[in-house]
């Protein structure tokens, strides 16, 4: 009993250190979106290419990756190469489609961006007043949502997507709910 404090003291120190060790893996920016598991907010919005408006519901029955970006966003430049690769890689799949939402931006700037870094080829929503972005609870760029065939948001990724993301994160989710 006399030496109980010694045991307690050392255990507390070790527990706190252990907690930090485990906690290091946490990403402080990774705030779980309350929208995950909820139906995605529907939209019909103008397209960047001034073609026909884009409607989310029109993609029902397929998994939709919705990528929010802007030409003003530095990390989007870094992410772009992977988006190009992902678009090429998944071009053959009929259960998966990608769209982009260019928000808080000018047409001029966005076109310049795509001209400089390459156009991944999928359709882009043009959202200068952030109507879609606010509905979806976007608070930075880039952010990416994965919507299932029933229109439910299954995953939200904050920050640039990285090579291997599709295989590590998207495919397992899609596997569960084909």
């Amino acid at each position: 009993m006399k030496n109980l404090w010694k045991v307690v003291l050392l255990s507390v120190v070790v527990i706190i250190l252990g907690l930090f060790a485990l906690g290091l893996g946490n990403d402080p920016r990774n705030i779980p979106s309350p929208l995950v598991g909820r139906p995605a907010s529907p939209f019909t919005a103008p397209a960047l290419d001034e073609g026909p408006p884009i409607t989310l519901e029109s993609f029902r029955g397929r998994w939709v990756l919705v990528n929010f970006w802007g030409s003003w966003c530095g990390s989007c430049v870094r992410e772009h190469a992977y988006l190009m690769e992902l678009a090429r890689m998944t071009a053959g799949r009929d259960d998966f489609i990608m769209i982009g939402v260019d928000f808080k931006d000018t047409r001029e700037g966005a076109r310049q961006f795509l001209a400089n870094l390459g156009d991944p080829g999928y359709r882009q929503v043009f959202d200068p007043e952030q109507k879609v972005a606010i509905d979806w609870g976007v608070y930075g760029a880039p952010e990416t949502y994965l919507v299932d065939p029933a229109g439910i948001i299954r995953h939200k990724h904050v920050g640039p997507l990285y090579p291997g993301w599709f295989e590590q994160v998207a495919l397992p989710l899609m596997g569960k709910k084909p």
Binding site: K6, G23, L24
Partner: protein, 651 residues
């Protein structure tokens, strides 16, 4: 050019720091003092080299050398020179270099001062401080180097984060670091005492000034942080119980406990293990503070760039230091047992014991609140935040208890007070406190904490005055001095005691400020068009117009508000600034500070074409916090002037 010199000197400093660890240990092992002297020279040279490194980095800033990555990320051509110099600690890498530099300076000073008086402990002190500094230098050199060059230097830098372009933020980090690093010296002395197994209480006396100095620096640093939050962040408050704020507050609480309990060891040879525990914990919490801020393990509004690689290293470093020091404490403590027992619950030492318990409980409270979200996120899978409601609930009662002790303490005697005499001395303070309570109730203050604080404040003030008065009266009967001469003579004779009293007065002023602004703040959210008037408390505000203003590296919208208050007529200028290179606007609140309350105006967004949102606060007694902290600093300064009193008899 300069940056290479800085880089190179830091590399040599690291090598020498390893030498500073090894040489004195070899010297002790071989009984060859010359090796210990090598360690001492190493400490001096490290201090010089790291000074050179710091100067080099600063010069890179002054020369706008944007080929240096750190400079490019934290400065720009239009940044005013004041912020250019202080951008040194504007980011992670530079602050770590700054940390290491301070530690090297303090080490050199400590070795120089204590060399001849502490021959037996100095080798261990050198080695311990060398280990700590090598740890930081490895971090600076390998994991977060401020010396990196960019292959393609930009024409202009990215500029310092606008929130950091504020005098409060300029002084916040250096003071905080001086506090953190300063505690390394008493820590090293304590460890050396443990390793040596010398039961002597010498280390307590030797480090008294270091402790006081570090404590004052840490306090000032925390206050600067609060001041910055109040003036720059524009949310009407100064303390948000954010994990990073807590990180600096925890070592302060435990350091405060240490500051008090060393006196017991000095006079009564008690609390030996407890003091070692306190100083080790204080320093451990200082490291923890650095870890929390720099690793990104906790989410925080401070949102510093986080990097897990760094986090892993800092954690490992911290684990080594913590397990070694607490382990040593546990395994060596049996040698330090004291035979002295507490004799009376109404003695000075008992008051200190309770003071310590309260402060440590307060520290544990903050620690739990800080770690709980981390634990939930790590072990469960959800996010929680612990905010002001928790802390207010737990913290305020503990602090009120501490105030009560603060009032009783000075009137108690070592070893135990005679009950009747104690009551005699307590009579006036108690009466004053009760009078305060009654007055509050009559004045319509109905918040229990508010009433309790007023009562306690008066109680403490009167107990301190009673003590001073008693001393003055005794002095006058003995010497026949005039009243002012007696007061002066008394204060000068025991600077340490009366410096402590001054610190207590500062704390009281701050407590008044905390309670006043915490409980009685008034907030109004308004939408005003040009020409609108509102009345808030004693103030009548008229929104005259909105103008555009331009600064050296920012543009702002500025509201012109005519304020008509009791005895003052003035114009206030709340701003919303947009800094070049930064998209996020920052608020510059317009603040009128008065003795009774602050008027605090924040300009919000435009609501329609010509109406704007405003947030207006009345913050009672906030200026008491800042002036209280100055009184506190003066008190510490006064106490520091007291030399060592080695010959003082124990009771």
């Amino acid at each position: 050019m300069w940056i290479e010199i800085a880089h190179f000197s830091t590399i040599i400093a690291l090598l020498l720091a390893l030498l500073q660890v090894a040489a004195p240990l070899v010297g002790v092992g071989l009984q060859r003092p010359v090796w210990i002297r090598v360690g001492r020279q190493a400490a001096f040279v490290i201090a010089a080299l790291l000074t050179l490194a710091t100067v080099g980095l600063t010069l890179s800033f002054l020369h706008h050398d944007f080929s240096v990555k750190y400079v490019a990320e934290h400065a720009s051509r239009s940044l005013p020179i004041f912020y250019l110099v202080t951008a040194l600690w504007g980011g992670h890498e530079g602050s770590l270099l700054f940390w290491a530099w301070l530690l090297a300076l303090f080490t050199a000073i400590a070795v120089w001062w204590h060399w001849s008086t502490h021959g037996r402990t100095i080798p261990w002190i050198l080695a311990i401080l060398g280990v700590v500094n090598s740890g930081f230098l490895v971090l600076v050199l390998f994991l977060s180097s401020p010396f990196e060059r960019l292959l393609q230097p930009p024409f202009d830098g990215r500029d310092l984060n606008p929130l950091l372009q504020d005098p409060g933020m300029v002084f916040h980090p250096p003071f905080l670091y001086m506090g953190y690093v300063g505690f390394a010296i008493p820590f090293a002395f304590a460890m050396a005492a443990l390793i040596n197994g010398r039961i002597s209480d010498e280390w307590i006396l030797a480090t008294r000034r270091w402790t006081l100095f570090s404590w004052a620096m840490l306090s000032t640093g925390i206050i600067f942080g609060a001041y910055w939050a109040y003036y720059e962040l524009g949310w009407g408050g100064y303390w948000a119980w954010d994990p990073v704020e807590n990180a600096s507050f925890m070592p302060w609480l435990i350091g405060t406990a240490f500051l008090h309990s060393v006196m017991v060891q000095e006079r009564r040879r008690m609390f030996k293990i407890w003091n070692l525990f306190l100083i080790i914990t204080t320093f451990a919490l200082s490291l923890l503070g650095t870890f929390l801020v720099r690793s990104g393990v906790l989410s925080s509004v401070h949102a510093f760039a986080s990097d897990p690689g760094r986090g892993v290293y800092i954690l490992m470093f911290m684990a080594v230091v913590l397990i070694f020091s607490f382990g040593l404490l546990v395994f060596r403590s049996d040698r330090l047992r004291t035979e002295v027992r507490l004799e009376s619950p109404f003695s000075m030492e008992a008051a200190f014991l309770f003071n310590n318990l309260f402060l440590v409980i307060a520290g544990v409270t903050v620690l739990l609140g800080t770690l709980y979200p981390l634990a939930v996120e790590t072990l469960g899978n959800s996010k929680v935040t612990v905010g002001a409601p928790y802390y207010n609930k737990v913290f305020i009662p503990i602090m009120l208890g501490t105030l009560l002790l603060m009032g009783v303490g000075p009137l108690l005697a070592w070893r135990g007070a005679d009950g009747a005499r104690l009551f005699e001395r307590l009579k006036k303070p108690l009466a004053a406190g009760l009078a305060g309570l009654v007055a509050c109730i009559f004045l319509g203050v109905n918040h229990p904490y508010g009433v309790a604080t007023v009562g306690l404040l008066l109680f403490v003030i009167f107990s301190h005055l009673t003590d001073v008065w008693g001393g003055v009266a005794r002095r006058r009967t003995n010497t026949g001095e005039s009243l002012p001469a007696a007061v002066f003579g008394l204060l000068i004779r025991n600077k340490r005691r009366y410096g402590g009293f001054m610190v207590h007065f500062g704390v009281l002023m701050m407590a008044a400020g905390f309670v006043g602004s915490g409980l009685f703040q008034e907030e109004k959210n308004l939408i005003l068009a040009q020409g609108d008037s509102v009345v808030i408390g004693r103030w009548r505000l008229t929104f005259e117009k909105l103008i555009e203003v331009k600064g050296s590296n920012w543009n702002a919208q500025e509201g012109i508000i005519q304020v008509d208050g009791p005895g003052v007529k003035m114009t206030m200028h709340p701003q919303k600034r947009v800094y070049e290179n930064h998209a996020m606007p920052t608020t510059e609140a317009a603040i009128f500070s008065g003795l009774r309350e602050d008027l605090y105006i924040v300009l919000g967004d435009a609501v329609t074409e010509n109406t704007w949102a405003f947030r207006i606060y009345r913050n009672p007694l906030v200026s008491w916090i800042w002036s209280g902290s100055m009184v506190m600093a003066m008190g510490v300064f006064f106490a520091l002037m007291q030399g060592r009193r080695l010959g003082k008899k124990t009771v």
